[in-house]
Symmetry: C2
Subunit: 170 residues, 2 copies
């Protein structure tokens, strides 16, 4: 017996929700270990309508995983992140790291600024001291059980979800 | 210049947040295509302190991906899901599918019941008609850009995050 008398009928891959204005949301990754993670991040970033994805080092998208993120999302690859972050700051982006640090805010209660660059750390090493020193804020996702961490692509996707929840129409 | 005068100092893998009571949150997957996705789901489910993970078909956890989820999270494997869902309903769990359907609720606004079984569909096929007919509610995560879908493990993790945001202490 379903709660809905009419039952639920598939509407998979229906057209997306529309944005009233383009998102001012950039995702910036330090050099990552796994191109699978980078590609997963590209897929989610594209699906949420992020403005662009900034990669560093030897990052390469695997199109089978990134799906349309490999084509419809603007992606740039840079040698190092700090100069790019400085430029984003100059353009008014709030630089928000995803990490567990002293002074980090819970993603449950953090109020994003609309113009945000989400800065994602390496799977093993997280964000470097140099990158941490450039950030305006750090957010962390509460963890309750072992392992005391989320996969990097999953943590990034959760953060993008939370941003979109706060700005459902852009 | 950081927003935090003292700077941000790493606290990676610090002890988790504590729950005031055990979660009454079960994750139940139909037969999935990818054991990588199943294993990612196990990692996140374990990290959020879910009660248990129900798998079906030939699902097998890859411990390198599931991490502690392969050991510290109770996992059971069943032949098919419907009888398990019937039993969960009998135990007072609200059966919440993760899917795009007619009558599905946005995850942005859906209020979870504390005792919830999150029902996850196959990467290609989603939830079967039989499973859909057993559900109390269906939730979907808004999508804005191409591809008009999230990876199954990522969508599941986002839903688990949203549940935990609503029940931060269990």
């Amino acid at each position: 017996m379903s709660g809905d008398a009419d039952g639920f009928v598939h509407e998979r891959h229906k057209p997306g929700s529309s944005l009233e204005r383009p998102r001012e949301l950039v995702v910036a990754c330090v050099p990552m270990r796994s191109n699978v993670n980078v590609s997963q991040i590209a897929r989610t970033a594209s699906a949420v309508g992020a403005e662009r994805l900034i990669l560093t080092g030897a990052a390469k998208l695997i199109s089978k995983i990134a799906r349309d993120g490999a084509e419809s999302l603007p992606v740039s690859v840079h040698r190092t992140l700090p100069p790019v972050l400085q430029r984003l700051r100059g353009e008014g982006y709030r630089l928000v790291g995803l990490e567990q640090t002293t002074g980090s805010s819970s993603l449950y209660t953090y109020a994003f600024q609309r113009r945000t660059a989400l800065v994602v750390g390496n799977e093993r090493l997280g964000l470097s001291e140099e990158v941490l020193s450039l950030l305006d804020d750090v957010v962390e996702i509460p963890v309750y059980g072992m392992p005391h961490s989320y996969n990097a692509a999953i943590a990034t996707s959760i953060s993008l979800y939370e941003y979109c929840r706060q700005f459902p129409t852009g």
